[in-house]
């Protein structure tokens, strides 16, 4: 029972690291990296759900009997592209914040916000 679930525990570890980075780190860019970490761990979780041991990649070929489940792959394909689109937008926002406030650290942002 233990060795099979190893995969899911590593995914949870990655998720928690990403979560930790987002909470603790002050720098906005570092938060984005943490967010990306969190996102990739969700992808890994979905794909490892779809794996059938002994099944090969979901491309129809002669002499291959069992396939891995193709459905999570489709889901994750869409999710990766949407993920990169949102990260690009977030980075653009960070740059505009930098131009406006002159800093990217969370505390200074709050202080400057209170002042003006």
């Amino acid at each position: 029972m233990l060795p099979e679930l190893y995969n899911y525990w590593v995914v949870i570890l990655l998720m928690m690291t990403g979560f930790y980075i987002v909470i603790v780190q002050g720098n906005l860019i570092k938060k984005l990296i943490g967010l990306n970490l969190f996102q990739t761990s969700v992808f890994i979780f979905y794909i490892s759900l779809g794996k059938v041991s002994g099944g090969s990649a979901p491309i129809f070929a002669e002499g291959v009997s069992s396939y891995s489940n193709p459905l999570p792959h489709v889901l994750i394909l869409t999710a990766i592209v949407v993920g990169i689109a949102t990260t690009a937008l977030a980075l653009a926002l960070v740059i505009r914040i930098r131009n406006a406030y002159g800093t990217v650290e969370e505390e200074e942002l709050q202080q400057r916000d209170l002042e003006c």
Binding site: M1, L5, Y6, N7, Y8, W9, I12, M15, M16, T17, Y20, I23, V24, Q25, G26, N27, I29, K30, L32, I33, G34, L37, T40, I44, I47, S48, L49, K51, V52, S53, G55, A57, P58, I59, F60, S66, Y67, S68, N69, H73, V74, L77, T78, I80, V81, V82, G83, A85, T87, A88, L89, L91, A92, V94, I95, R96, N99, V104, E105, E107
Partner: protein, 321 residues
């Protein structure tokens, strides 16, 4: 393989210098893509490699060029958050205890929906790559939504950053480090046509092997970005004009939507390709090909536009700073 992933993730958390964190994010993307290959997720590995290990670090670096590399503030209240994180982690681990074993064939998700797709899709659509058949045919409406998402993201980034003033080819930074890339420029002159050709290859054999519109678009954009990096943004913007790209991004989405409308006109419901041609099977093939083309054009031009926006932001802020 997963152990390596875990180590990289922990290292990223621990590192202070942003530059090193971005480098490790690149390695993390590569590692997760190789994990996807070992778990038979071929298309996903393709996309994750092209996006997660390719475009993501490039975008982060472009942003870092503007924002500065070091991270001043120390950690804030690390212990409480560590406690919070470990509690949620424990709760999640509890959740996984009764999940099916990794890779077990009789797990619930495998034997209801997937069986129908694995059996029917080669017969109904006749292309070996089931992932593309589901992506482009059964679920093509969602893919349309996704293409629109990429398009709006590019427009959003343009709105935020792009000031339209293209970097003049002769500006100071261009001429300054023009001289020291002699070897790189010669090599990339050889490589870039190969890269673009490979992108087209990936685009059009999406039905038979791993590949498809997204991956092709990202590789195409990576080729152009390489050109822009080595030959300066002024020349790159002269070669691939931003205005042209905006039109291209729009017409990619247009192609996708118009295929749907054509199916509507010829009697089927929206995006049902079997109406396109008298013989339904060939109709589906044509439909999928055109859809992938539309997706490829939009993704490629969106990525290049985003990169131009970031690049023009660096040039402008340099004059301001």
């Amino acid at each position: 393989m997963l152990l390596l992933l875990a180590i990289t993730a922990l290292a990223i958390a621990w590192l202070r210098d942003l530059f090193a964190a971005v480098m490790l994010a690149g390695i993390y993307g590569l590692l997760s893509a190789s994990f996807f290959v070992s778990v038979d997720a071929v298309d996903v590995a393709f996309t994750e490699a092209a996006v997660g290990a390719g475009i993501f670090p490039l975008l982060m670096l472009a942003a870092l060029a503007l924002v500065g590399r070091n991270e001043q503030t120390a950690y804030r209240r690390p212990l409480i958050s560590l406690l919070l994180v470990s509690i949620t982690g424990a709760a999640l681990v509890l959740g996984t205890l009764d999940m099916p074993a990794f890779g077990s064939a009789d797990a619930p998700p495998h034997n209801h929906v997937a069986v129908r797709y694995i059996e029917e899709s080669p017969k109904e659509i006749g292309i070996p790559n089931m992932v593309t058949s589901v992506l482009a045919d059964y679920r093509s409406f969602d893919t349309l939504g996704e293409v629109v998402v990429v398009f709006t993201a590019a427009m959003g980034v343009l709105g935020l950053l792009f000031t339209g003033r293209a970097a003049s080819p002769g500006s100071a930074t261009e001429r300054a480090n023009m001289y020291d890339h002699r070897v790189l420029r010669v090599v990339s002159k050889m490589l870039i046509p190969l890269i673009l050709l490979f992108a087209l290859y990936v685009q059009f054999h999406g039905e038979y092997g791993p590949g498809g519109g997204f991956q092709a678009g990202v590789i195409f954009a990576a080729g152009i970005i390489l050109y822009a990096m080595l030959f300066g943004f002024g020349n790159a913007q002269r070669v691939v004009r931003p205005a042209l790209l905006q039109i291209l991004a729009a017409c990619g989405v247009l192609i996708y939507g118009s295929v749907g409308v054509v199916c509507l006109l010829s009697g089927g419901n929206f995006l049902d390709y079997s109406q396109l041609l008298p013989d339904p099977l060939v109709g589906r093939h044509v439909g999928i090909l055109v859809i992938e083309l539309g997706v490829g054009i939009t993704v490629a031009s969106a990525m290049i536009l985003i990169f131009y926006a970031f690049a023009s932001a660096t040039v402008n802020s340099e004059e301001v700073a």
